[in-house]
């Protein structure tokens, strides 16, 4: 009988130790990831890490709840030998964390009572639970179970008609207006809705009543040729004397200067 219990204890301790080691490993890798790669991290991978940790905690819980596990509360750990000397075996076992098994570390590592704050909270919770009575507690448990199962069902069964229902609901609050889209695109594309400007001050004030630029540029070219001196006229002349320059691409700019000076050159040559 004793042997069987002992064997059970040993087996359950082994499995618990293995699970805790897994949890420690994944916590370590997660912390390393957060410290070193935090600018490259994406939310889905962080969620994966959290899911892994929660899964491992779950298995630890299952191991503890397993009927083959003896109650650890009935076990007592008594330190048999305390010494202030460094113990190499211990160092290896605990990965350099506990070098000395002495009077200082025993109260911390072998304690069985939880932290004072945790104890307070536990007391508070059990008092609360005792206060509300068993029927109310049962009802609360049932409501919680129902909510969880509803949520699980919704998450596990994505259906297209559900999507269309929810999108119909969301139509009440549209987040964009197609008419606005068209208006904005037209404004950016060709200035629809933006006031057309008069020609800027390069047109000299000596020509009042200058029509807006919807009438071609030739009239304005004349004023430029007239007022900015002979350069424009000369340039136009030169361009005219060398028609069809090889290798040059036709451009409307040159055409305009040509036409202005050809038709309305103020100085007849």
């Amino acid at each position: 009988m004793q042997q069987r219990e002992e064997k059970q204890l040993e087996a359950s301790l082994e499995s618990l130790h293995a699970r805790v080691a897994h949890l420690k490993g994944s916590l370590q890798s997660f912390i390393l990831k957060l410290e070193n790669e935090h600018d490259r991290l994406t939310w889905p991978s962080v969620l994966d890490n959290f899911a892994l940790l929660s899964g491992q905690l779950n298995t630890i819980n299952k191991v503890l709840k397993n009927e083959k596990t003896p109650s650890y509360r009935s076990q007592v750990i008594i330190p048999l030998l305390l010494s202030p000397d460094r113990d190499e075996e211990l160092v290896k076992l605990t990965e350099q964390r506990v070098p000395v098994f002495s009077h200082e570390i025993v109260p911390d590592h072998l304690r069985t009572k939880p932290d004072p704050e945790v104890e307070e909270q536990e007391k508070h919770l059990s008092a609360e639970a005792a206060r509300i009575g068993p029927e109310v507690a049962q009802k609360q448990i049932q409501t919680l179970n129902k909510l969880c199962s509803n949520l699980l069902e919704k998450l596990n069964n994505p259906r297209d008609d559900r999507d269309s229902e929810s999108s119909a609901l969301r139509q009440n609050k549209p987040s964009f207006n197609p008419a606005d889209t068209n208006a904005l695109v037209a404004a950016v594309g060709f200035g629809k809705g933006l006031s057309k400007c008069r020609p800027p001050g390069s047109v000299p004030p000596g020509h009042p009543g200058q029509p807006t630029m919807s009438t071609g540029p030739t009239l304005q070219q004349v004023t430029i040729a007239g007022t900015t001196g002979h350069q424009a006229g000369m340039g136009g002349q030169v361009a005219q004397q060398q028609p069809g320059q090889p290798g040059k691409m036709p451009s409307s700019i040159k055409t305009n200067i040509k036409s202005a000076s050809a038709s309305m050159h103020p100085y007849n040559r």
């Binding site: 208006a183 037209a186 400007c197 700019i253």
Partner: protein, 208 residues
Amino acid sequence: MEAPPVTVMPVTGGTINMMEYLLQGSVLDQSLESLLHRLRGLCDNMEPESFADHELVYLLKGQQGNPFMLRGRRSLLHPTAPWHLRYLGQPEVGDKSRHALVRNCVDVAASHSLPEFLNEMGFRMDHEFVAKGQVFRKGAMKVVVSKLLRVLATGNTENTEPLSLSYLVELSVLAPAGQDTVSEDMRSFAEQLKPLVHLEKIDPKRLM
């Protein structure tokens, strides 16, 4: 008036002809926060950049065809930064299955004498607006969420009013011509922004 097609251009410089792949949509002001949160999660992890730009659009009207359009943009937040001059071609009428609007794009930096220079060349300012918003990046993709403001008095960027109650959302990629995988990536990114924003290719000629 259109720039000559790619194959006819003499190769004078070392620049590759870049195409801009574009998807556009809009989001109402009240849903802006949720969109920004989602973009912060989806896009590269960096502080989103805010910008306030004043864009002037210049037209050169030839005797034939459509006027030639150039866009000059300056930052209101960084007044000493150079101007940005951009040419956008007509959207390529390729196969309808391509998911993004593709057009030729030439970008250059310019000094602060750009408006006078363009005026001397014969361009006239057609319209101007102020755009304020934020820029996000994901790899080569750029998402710009901006509020367009109408300038009430020409040249006066202090006096502005919003054009509409929405923010314009644009997803764009600058890539050399011929890379059609780009539009696939853009489409899958746009899927992730639904149903907050519907990014789609909108042909501006349709809205004229």
